[in-house]
Structures are given as structure tokens and as C-alpha cells.
């Protein structure tokens, strides 16, 4: 239906020097079928060393299925998956040693304390007690739950629980980290903390595959973004390059009470305007290009005596990109 | 209506558990009931006895066997020695009599032959021993004086044929009433389990702090909400009670269609109310779902063991029966006993009423305790 649009945008030669980075994950033609429904449809993409790749898509787009397939938890119908240059299989323990996963559901033991939970899961990778103890303390430090070491999961708030969930997945200092919607139902403070923590992990050399349906998050931390819908990639590139796909340069919104239908039609006819929408309180006009769109908008409103309370200009969001490409909103 | 529907939904969700409980308890009741025929006259209990006759040819031993056949229930156990030993252990037979090879010879000579017995040690075994002993004593006494075998046998039989006259003065259908008593006693365990488990589960779901907060701030009148909850619980308990009463007609038979049958049913209804109140009280303690199964099992099994449901009252030590007084099941079981054995109901109506009042008292105590506990918890929360 939609062709995949690529915007590599000198991604690899800019800050990172001219070396071609290693491909950490190579996904080729991944397909997963559930009876007649294709949850993932011929998906191909790569994840490069030390990048944070965002997998962005609405609920049910196939993000978790993709992750579970890459991790060899799910049987997939066809395709090939390579991690660190080797074929990924359920018994590829040498590959798994360097992988850390933070699942969407909180995966901790209710019966163990915060410290014990992290220690247990780290112990599945690190046998040396002394080393493990250091790692566990570091992980606690990184996610910022040092005050809650002896607490049980039941006693933690949603945000702290998510942080614990992350600590359990990264304590063993993996080189490749999968984060599957780690900030669902998390308070803003915890969310920021988590996002900053992820950036730090990359600074320490990790490669990260991050799935979410929050566009603000991918814009904040991801180097590259893949937009996925109904199991297919519909766009791929950096945040800026993707936004250009929205064919929107700017969106100007005015808060106006009771605007007649004619006004919306007239607004659509403004120079460079591509669309105008009035939702009862706010008139939003999208422009494909142009420099003085704001001035023209003000003139239009004044000349027609449309009194506005507020007037502001926005850059396009990834939601706009998604809307442009699929006709749907990212968040339902 | 909302509350009622939610109640139904929660029951539906736990329907598998309910079915498991119900099926298990029905099978219990069916298996534990004695298969008595209707009896309206005196019938001698005949202990089950197995005879091993190693002197089949002699007339004396044949006579002995004949006597045993008339006074006991001769059972032939097929199989190995182990099977026979099992039969004795499980009281399928209460006594094994071994007639020695020289039985007839000894009798002819006027000597007392040695007869071996192996018993299960209970009252039926003691009775079997009495029967055997009586024959042998008579035989041995006669054998000292009478030498001719045929005359001897005639004398023995003549003496043993003497029976006293027995008047049976009850008009009660003791067999059917015994069955009814067993069924209704067992039903105490069944009904209480079904009611306690489900009602506790449902009420504690409603009592969960998050649900309760929502309910309190909703526009629904709290009194109406409480009443709806009560009505739903009551309806469920009523259905359980009705089900077990219908089942009683199937299990016990026609004799349920009588005044006594009605009193059994009414007694069971009062007991149902106390179970409901107990369930309400337990749910006010805000037990976790996981704890409910455990607590319900301990309570229902405890009540049933100590109040004469699983183990008949006459076998329980007196101090246990003393403790049982603080359980509603005890008073319910007492009434079942009165209804099934008393000749004239008018004579024992007072006792029946007192026991019912005690059970009602329990109901009130449970309900009031529940209310007090839940008010306190509301304050703290």
C-alpha cells in the first residue's frame, strides 16, 4: 500500500566518524502469521552498533511480536535473524549472554525484595559473586532506586516498579538491550529518569532497540526511527527526516469560540495551506511551506473579525507523519 | 441490579471451582449414606462371618455351620489370604471361624474341640464371638452326656431354638429416618462449603479497597448497595439450600414428604442462614482471595469433624463435643438426631426450638460482628 521511505540523512558519517558501524541485529524478511492474520509482514531492518533505534507504531502494529521473534521466543513463519553476526536461535546462549530485555509487563518476583530480584536475574548471567554484587549496586544506582533496596514490589509505585523492571534487565551489562514499551503508565519524573538512563547506557557502549507508541520519547532519545503499522515498516529514518515526510512545514493554531463553517473553508484557501480543521475550540491550519504563514493567518483572522484568544505555531510531529502515511493516529 | 449482575458475573467466573466443590460433596454424600431398606419391625443385626470348615464330612460341624448361617451373615471371600485379611480389616467380615479337622471326632468323644477365630475387634465381632461361644458351650455340655451324634444334634438344636418374644413399639420408619439423618448431616458440610466459598469470594472482591473506594464515591446509595449485596448473597444461598433439599428427595425417598421431612428441611434452612452470616463476617476481615480457600476448608472440615458430621457423635470424645458447642453445626446436627429418633415430636418440640434459636443466635452474632468489623475498617481506610 505505502512504499517504505528511507531517509538516511548522512546518519552514519556525521558525528560518528567515517567508519561503517557493525550491524548488531539483521532482520531479513521476518513474517509471523496467526492463522489468516499477518502480525508481522516481511519485515527487514538492521540495528547498528551503539545506536538507539526506535520502533514506533500504534497498539497492535506488531512491535512486541517483532521483538519476541528476534529473541526466539516466538516461532515465526519465515525470515532470518542475525545478532552479532550469528544466527539467532533459542539455544544461542553465547548471544543471549550479551542481551538484556525489558518486557512490557513487569517481570519481577513478588516474593523477593528489590535487591534480590536484581541479584537473581543478574545471577543468570554473571556467576562470580563479587562481580555480581558490584553490577547489582550499579544497576540500582543507574535506575535510581537505591532507597528501596529492601522493599517488595507490592510496596512500590508504578514508576519505581518500572525502574526495577529495567534494572533486572540491564544489571548484567548487556551489549544489546531490548526495551518493549518500558514507560507505560509511568509518572513523568520516572519517565525522564528512565529515558536519561537509557541514553547513559548507550554512552557506555550499548546498542538499544526501543519500542513505544509515545512519539515524544522517540524524538527525545532515538537516533533512528522505524514507523511500523500492521506488521509492515512504513517509514524509516531520523526524526527530522521523517517529519519532512509529513509534507507539513508548519501548523498554526488559533483558539477561537464559535467559528462558522465558511471560515474553515476560507482558511483552507490560504497560501501554502494544505488543510484546516476546527474542533470547536481551536482552528488548526497546516502549511506545506512558506515563511510568513503566521502573518497571513493573523491578517485573515483580523480581516474577518474572528476573535482569537491564543495563536501559536508548531512544527509537525511524528503523529502527523503517521497520520499522513496511514490516515490514522498513533495513539488511539 | 448492577450489584446483582456483578455478583452473578463473579460466580460465573468461578463456576469451575463451584462445580468441583459441588461434585465432590455430592459424591461424598452418596457414598457415605447407608443403603438401608425401609424397616418398620425388629430385625436382628447379623454380623458378617466367614467360615472355614476343615471337617466338612461330620454331621456336628455341618450343624454348627447351619446354626451360624441362621444367626449370622455367612460371607464367602474369594481370593488370596491378603484379600481375606483385607475383608476383615475393612469390616466386610467381622470374624473368621476355622473349624478344625477333628471337630466331629472330639464331639463324639465328649471333648471340646478347639475352634479358631480371628476378629476385627468391634462390637459386631464381639457379638459373633457370643454366638459361636453359645453354640459351642451348649454342644460341649450336651456332648458330655449324650453319646449318640444324632440325639446330640437334636438336643442342641432344640435348646438353641428357644427365642424370647420381642415387641417392637415404634411406628417410626427407622431405616428411612436414619438415611435422612445421615444425608442432612452430610449436607451441612456441602452447603456450608458452597456458601462460604462463593459468598466470601464475591464479598471480598467487592470489599477490596479499590472497588470499595469507587463504590463509596459513586452516586449509588450505600444502604441500597449493601442491601443489594445482601439480597444477592441470600438468593445464592437460597438456591444452594433448594438444590440440596431437592437432592434429599432423590437420595432419601418418599419419606421426605412428611412432617419430619419438613422439619429436616426447615432445620437446614436455618443452618443455611448461619452459613451466610458466617460468610459475611469472614469477608469483612478483608481476606485475600488466596487465603479464602484455605480458611473455608479449615472451617468446614473442622466443623464437620468435630460436630458429628463425618464421625458420628457417639464416637466423639466428650471434651471434643464440649468444644463443638461453639459451632452452629453442632446444634444443627443435634436437631437432625432428635427428628430422626424421637417417637413423639410433640414431646421434643421444645428441644428442637431451642436448638434452632441457638443457630439463629449464631447467625445474629456473625452478622453483628461483621458489621462492627466493617465499620471499623471503613474508618481506618
Amino acid at each position: 500500500m505505502l512504499s517504505v521511505q528511507f531517509c538516511t540523512d548522512n546518519f552514519f558519517t556525521s558525528e560518528r566518524g567515517s567508519n561503517v558501524p557493525e550491524k548488531i541485529i539483521e532482520v531479513k524478511g521476518l513474517t509471523k502469521e496467526y492463522k489468516e492474520l499477518k502480525a508481522v509482514d516481511d519485515l527487514s531492518f538492521d540495528v547498528y552498533e551503539k545506536e538507539i533505534l526506535g520502533l514506533l507504531g500504534p497498539n497492535g502494529s506488531g512491535k512486541s511480536t517483532t521483538i519476541n521473534s528476534i529473541l526466539s521466543l516466538l516461532k515465526y513463519s519465515s525470515g532470518s535473524i542475525k545478532i552479532f553476526g550469528k544466527e539467532m536461535t533459542p539455544s544461542a546462549y553465547d548471544i543471549k549472554r550479551d542481551i538484556g530485555v525489558i518486557f512490557q509487563e513487569v517481570a519481577v518476583f513478588e516474593e523477593l525484595t528489590v535487591y534480590d530480584n536484581i541479584d537473581y536475574f543478574c545471577g543468570l548471567y554473571i556467576r562470580d559473586k563479587k562481580k555480581r554484587r558490584e553490577y547489582v549496586e550499579e544497576a540500582i544506582e543507574v535506575v535510581g532506586i537505591g532507597d528501596y533496596k529492601k522493599f517488595y514490589p507490592k510496596q512500590l509505585s508504578g514508576g519505581l516498579l518500572r525502574r526495577l523492571n529495567i534494572a533486572c534487565g540491564i544489571a548484567h551489562k548487556p551489549k544489546l538491550i531490548f526495551l518493549d514499551e518500558p514507560t507505560v503508565a509511568v509518572d513523568p519524573q520516572s519517565r525522564n529518569h528512565i529515558l536519561e538512563g537509557i541514553k547513559k547506557l548507550r554512552e557506555n557502549g550499548a546498542t538499544i532497540l526501543y519500542t513505544t507508541h509515545y512519539m515524544e520519547e522517540v524524538e527525545q532519545i532515538c537516533d533512528r526511527i522505524i514507523i511500523i503499522d500492521k506488521g509492515k515498516i512504513i517509514a524509516e529514518g531520523s526524526s527530522d527526516s521523517l517529519k519532512r515526510l509529513a509534507n507539513i512545514e508548519e501548523k498554526i493554531s488559533a483558539e477561537i469560540h464559535s467559528l462558522p463553517e465558511k471560515a474553515v473553508e476560507d482558511a483552507k484557501k490560504l497560501k501554502y495551506a494544505t488543510d484546516a480543521v476546527y474542533d470547536g475550540t481551536t482552528l488548526s491550519v497546516s502549511y506545506s511551506e512558506g515563511r510568513d504563514n503566521l502573518t497571513r493567518m493573523v491578517d485573515f483572522l483580523r480581516n474577518n473579525n474572528y476573535h482569537y484568544k491564543k495563536l501559536y505555531s508548531e512544527r509537525p510531529t511524528l503523529n502527523d507523519v503517521f497520520l499522513e502515511l496511514t490516515g490514522k493516529e498513533l495513539r488511539d | 441490579m448492577t450489584v446483582f449482575n456483578t455478583f452473578l458475573k463473579v460466580i460465573k467466573k468461578n463456576i469451575v471451582t463451584i462445580i468441583i466443590y459441588t461434585v465432590i460433596v455430592i459424591v461424598f454424600a452418596a457414598a457415605n449414606m447407608q443403603t438401608d431398606n425401609s424397616v418398620t419391625g425388629f430385625i436382628s443385626e447379623k454380623p458378617a462371618v466367614m467360615v472355614v470348615n476343615n471337617d466338612i464330612e461330620s454331621a456336628s460341624s455341618k450343624n454348627f455351620e447351619k446354626y451360624l448361617d441362621e444367626n449370622t451373615n455367612i460371607v464367602k471371600i474369594e481370593g488370596t489370604e491378603d484379600d481375606i485379611a483385607d475383608a476383615l480389616f475393612y469390616r466386610d467380615i467381622t470374624c473368621i471361624v476355622t473349624i478344625p479337622k477333628n471337630f466331629g471326632e472330639c464331639v463324639k468323644k465328649g471333648i471340646a474341640p478347639e475352634v479358631e477365630i480371628k476378629t476385627s475387634g468391634n462390637e459386631y465381632a464381639a457379638f459373633s464371638e457370643m454366638i459361636i461361644s453359645q453354640y459351642l458351650r451348649i454342644q460341649n455340655a450336651c456332648a458330655k452326656r449324650i453319646t449318640d451324634e444324632n440325639t446330640l444334634i437334636e438336643s442342641i438344636n432344640k435348646s438353641l431354638d428357644k427365642k424370647a418374644e420381642v415387641e417392637f413399639i415404634t411406628k417410626l420408619n427407622t431405616g428411612a429416618l436414619g438415611k435422612a439423618k445421615t444425608y442432612f448431616n452430610f449436607a451441612a458440610y456441602s452447603m456450608m462449603s458452597c456458601i462460604l466459598f462463593i459468598v466470601c469470594l464475591v464479598l471480598s472482591s467487592f470489599n477490596e479497597i479499590s472497588v470499595r473506594k469507587r463504590t463509596i464515591v459513586s452516586s449509588m446509595d450505600y444502604k441500597k448497595y449493601s442491601f443489594d449485596l445482601f439480597l444477592s448473597g441470600f438468593s445464592y444461598s437460597f438456591v444452594v439450600w433448594l438444590f440440596f433439599m431437592l437432592l434429599s428427595i432423590v437420595m432419601v425417598g418418599e419419606s421426605m414428604f412428611s412432617l419430619r421431612g419438613l422439619i429436616f428441611i426447615m432445620n437446614a434452612f436455618v443452618f443455611t442462614l448461619s452459613s451466610l452470616a458466617l460468610a459475611y463476617m469472614l469477608s469483612c476481615f478483608l481476606l485475600k482471595k488466596n487465603a479464602i480457600t484455605g480458611i473455608v476448608n479449615v472451617l468446614t472440615l473442622g466443623f464437620s469433624f468435630l460436630c458429628g458430621v463425618f464421625v458420628p457423635e457417639e464416637y466423639l470424645p466428650s471434651w471434643v463435643l464440649g468444644i463443638a458447642h461453639i459451632m452452629p453445626t453442632y446444634w444443627y446436627v443435634q436437631n437432625n438426631g432428635i427428628i430422626s429418633t424421637n417417637e413423639h415430636l410433640s414431646g421434643c418440640i421444645n428441644e428442637l426450638l431451642i436448638n434452632i434459636l441457638v443457630v439463629i443466635g449464631f447467625t445474629i452474632v456473625f452478622a453483628v460482628t461483621g458489621v462492627i468489623v466493617s465499620i471499623n475498617k471503613r474508618k481506618i481506610a
Binding site: 496467526y34 521466543l73 516466538l74 516461532k75 533459542p90 539455544s91 546462549y93 543471549k96 530485555v101 518476583f109 523477593l112 537473581y120 545471577g123 543468570l124 548471567y125 533486572c168 | 471451582t17 459424591v27 461424598f28 457414598a31 457415605n32 436382628s44 443385626e45 491378603d82 485379611a85 483385607d86 475393612y90 469390616r91 466386610d92 471340646a112 478347639e114 479358631e116 475387634g121 468391634n122 462390637e123 457379638f127 457370643m130 459361636i132 453359645q134 459351642l136 458351650r137 451348649i138 428357644k162 418374644e165 420381642v166 415387641e167 417392637f168 415404634t170 488466596n290 487465603a291 484455605g294 479449615v298 472440615l301 469433624f305 463425618f310 464421625v311 464416637y315 470424645p317 424421637n342 417417637e343
Partner: protein, 391 residues
């Protein structure tokens, strides 16, 4: 890796309150309940003195044989009757109120008994009176014969009273010459305690089920973590099973302690064999838990309740809720108890208590081992699976 997983498995088990209740507290509570309910049952099984009412009128006072016989039968610690001597009206009252089993009166020199229900006591009462009647009749017959003989042989002057008194004594003291070869281990209440031990062995399945649930990716979120880790599945599952087994052993030891020192259950003399049976029984329980975890597709709570229910059903067929049930099943539908591990354990303990040979016991132990092996084999496919169709 082994000790790491073992240590945490232990923690997970011991901190799970629900689990600790069902596997430790519940069997001990049941043992205490059983003890309270059954402590008297062996005593009451024996024949207690029967309460009767005797109508003490002239007819009775003149019937020496009944008067003397009843008197001697109501004396001493092992007496047969507790007699209330009264008038006819009061006697009938006592009977109606169920304060006595029966009434005795003499009508026209013959005994008449009155009872109002059927039961062993009523039967014994009637039989004893018949016995006295028979004895009396025998004495009369034999006495008459002797007198005839004496007359025939010319002895005319006889002491008739002495003849009948001697005869009565003779008949009453006539020895039945019965040899009682009963065994002493006849308390069938033991079955209840044995099936309780069997239940405790099988409850080890709850332990293994809980831990295996934590290890399977398609059952729990933490299972997913284990699945993506670099730890081999066997290195996680095996320590879990060992931990379950250890906890089970400790809990079983505590139950045995209660049964031996508080309840004074009789286990016979074969304690090592009992330990072996318990160990194999626990393995059977563990294997059932593994199977339920791997093979049953349901929520955790449903699995837990389901397993408890299945074990209790097994206990029922093995005689815990009525000893006779085991006998009924063994005789009529033996296949049920041939595949019921609770019954195998119960039967093994029973065989040690009651029989001299070990054949039946060994059969039960081997059956349990075979049962465990089969169940584990069935589960192994599910255990080893690493990828799923859906998660």
C-alpha cells in the same frame, strides 16, 4: 548457577504464604482434627455395656434363672448390661426417651422384650436373653434325662435341686474352647492418617507447580526473562525441583513429628520403609505439579485450585473421608486406585502396618515410581519447548 537458582527457589517457596499454608499448616491442622475426632473411636468400637430396664414384679422375682443370670451379667468392669429395676410404666418411658435400649419383663413365666429401634445393641440384648432361655431349657432337658436315667437304674431318692444346680453350673461353666488368633493391628482409623500423609506427599505438587510456572515463558512474565537469559533451561528447572523436594522433606518431617509425638499414630516397625515410601510419594507429587504447570492452559489461580481439588479427590478415593471408600473402590473399580498416587501411598503404609510380607508394599513403591516417570516423560516435551506459537 545451581546454588544461585536453588537458593532463590527456596526463598520463593518459603515466602509464599498460600503455599506454606497448604503444604505445611493444612496437613498438620487435619492431623490435629483427626486426633480430636478419632481419639475415642477404638474404645467405642468395642461393645459398651447396654442400658436396659427390667420390670421388677413378682413374675420376675420368681424366675430365678433370669433374675440370677441378669444379676451376674450386670456386675464387674466387663459387664454386659447396666440394669435399671423399675415398674412397667417407667420402663416404657425410659425406652421412649431412648435412655435404655430395651425393656425386659416376665409374662406368664416367659421373657418378653420391648425395643423401639434396630441396631447392634438391641440385637445383642435379644440374643443374650435367648441364650439364657436356651441354657435354662437345656438344663431342664438334661436334668429330666438324668432323673429318668436314675429312676431307670433304681435310684429313686434324689436331690432334685442339687441335680439342677449342678447341671446349671456345669452348663454355664462349659468351656467353648475358642482360640482367638486375631491380630492386634486392627485399628482402621490408621487409614485416615495414612491417607493424610499421602495427601501431604502429593501437595509437593503445589511447590513444583509454583516454581515451574515461574520458569515457563508462556506462563509468566518472569518466565520470559528466564527464557531469554543465557542460563540453560535445565540449570534453572533442576535446582527448582531440588528446592521443592527439600522443602517437601522438611514439611513432611514436621508432619511425621506431629503424628508420632502428638497423635501417637502406629506405623508398625518398619520406619525406613515408610521413609522410602514417603520419598517416592513426594516425587510422584512433584511430577504431578510439573505436569499441571506445563500441560494445563489456565490462569495461575485456576491451576492451583484445580490441583488442590484433584489431590483431594484422590484422597477421597483413598479413604480419607471415609475409610470404607478405599475398600469399595478396591473391590468394585480397582483401576481408579491403581492410577491414584494417593491410594498407592496409603496402601503402601497400610501394607506395612497390617501385613507381614513386603510384597504389596513393594508393588506400591514401584507403582509410584512408574507413575512419576510416566508423568514426567509426558511433561518433558512441554518443559523443553523454547519457542511458542503465541506468548
Amino acid at each position: 548457577m545451581f546454588f544461585h537458582n536453588f537458593r532463590y527457589s527456596l526463598k520463593l517457596l518459603l515466602k509464599n504464604k498460600q503455599l506454606v499454608f497448604w503444604t505445611l499448616a493444612f496437613p498438620i491442622i487435619m492431623a490435629v482434627l483427626f486426633n480430636m475426632a478419632f481419639s475415642n473411636i477404638d474404645n467405642t468400637e468395642k461393645l459398651d455395656p447396654i442400658d436396659i430396664a427390667v420390670v421388677e414384679d413378682d413374675g420376675f422375682k420368681n424366675s430365678l434363672i433370669y433374675k440370677n443370670s441378669l444379676e451376674s451379667l450386670s456386675k464387674g468392669d466387663d459387664r454386659l448390661f447396666n440394669i435399671t429395676y423399675t415398674d412397667e410404666k417407667k420402663a416404657k418411658e425410659l425406652l421412649t426417651e431412648h435412655k435404655v435400649t430395651g425393656c425386659f419383663k416376665i409374662v406368664k413365666n416367659e421373657p418378653v422384650l420391648t425395643v423401639n429401634s434396630n441396631g447392634i445393641n438391641e440385637t445383642v440384648f435379644c440374643y443374650v436373653i435367648d441364650e439364657i432361655k436356651s441354657t435354662g431349657d437345656l438344663v431342664t432337658t438334661l436334668g429330666t434325662e438324668e432323673i429318668k436315667r436314675n429312676i431307670a437304674s433304681g435310684k429313686i431318692n434324689m436331690d432334685y435341686e442339687a441335680i439342677f444346680t449342678d447341671l446349671t453350673e456345669d452348663v454355664l461353666e462349659s468351656d467353648a474352647n475358642i482360640k482367638d488368633v486375631s491380630v492386634s493391628n486392627m485399628s482402621y482409623i490408621m487409614i485416615e492418617y495414612y491417607s493424610l500423609i499421602a495427601m501431604a506427599c502429593m501437595y509437593s505438587g503445589l511447590l513444583s507447580m509454583t516454581l515451574i510456572n515461574y520458569r515457563l515463558a508462556n506462563v509468566s512474565a518472569v518466565g520470559k526473562r528466564s527464557a531469554v537469559s543465557s542460563a540453560k533451561k535445565i540449570s534453572i528447572i533442576f535446582p527448582s525441583l531440588c528446592a521443592s523436594f527439600l522443602v517437601q522433606l522438611v514439611e513432611l518431617a514436621l508432619l511425621y513429628a506431629v503424628l508420632i509425638f502428638y497423635v501417637h499414630t502406629d506405623f508398625g516397625n518398619e520406619f525406613p520403609k515408610i521413609i522410602l515410601l514417603s520419598l517416592v510419594g513426594s516425587v510422584a507429587g512433584l511430577s504431578v505439579g510439573v505436569a499441571v504447570s506445563v500441560l494445563i492452559k489456565a490462569g495461575e489461580n485456576a491451576k492451583f485450585t484445580g490441583l488442590v481439588g484433584v489431590i483431594m479427590a484422590g484422597c477421597f478415593f483413598a479413604g480419607m473421608m471415609g475409610v470404607m471408600m478405599k475398600n469399595v473402590i478396591d473391590k468394585n473399580v480397582p483401576v481408579i486406585n491403581k492410577i491414584n498416587p494417593v491410594a498407592m501411598i496409603t496402601d503402601g503404609l497400610y501394607a506395612l502396618y497390617y501385613y507381614n510380607s513386603s510384597e504389596r508394599y513393594l508393588f506400591d513403591v514401584i507403582s509410584l515410581a512408574v507413575f512419576s516417570a510416566v508423568i514426567l516423560l509426558i511433561s518433558i516435551r512441554g518443559l523443553r519447548r523454547q519457542t511458542y506459537d503465541s506468548i
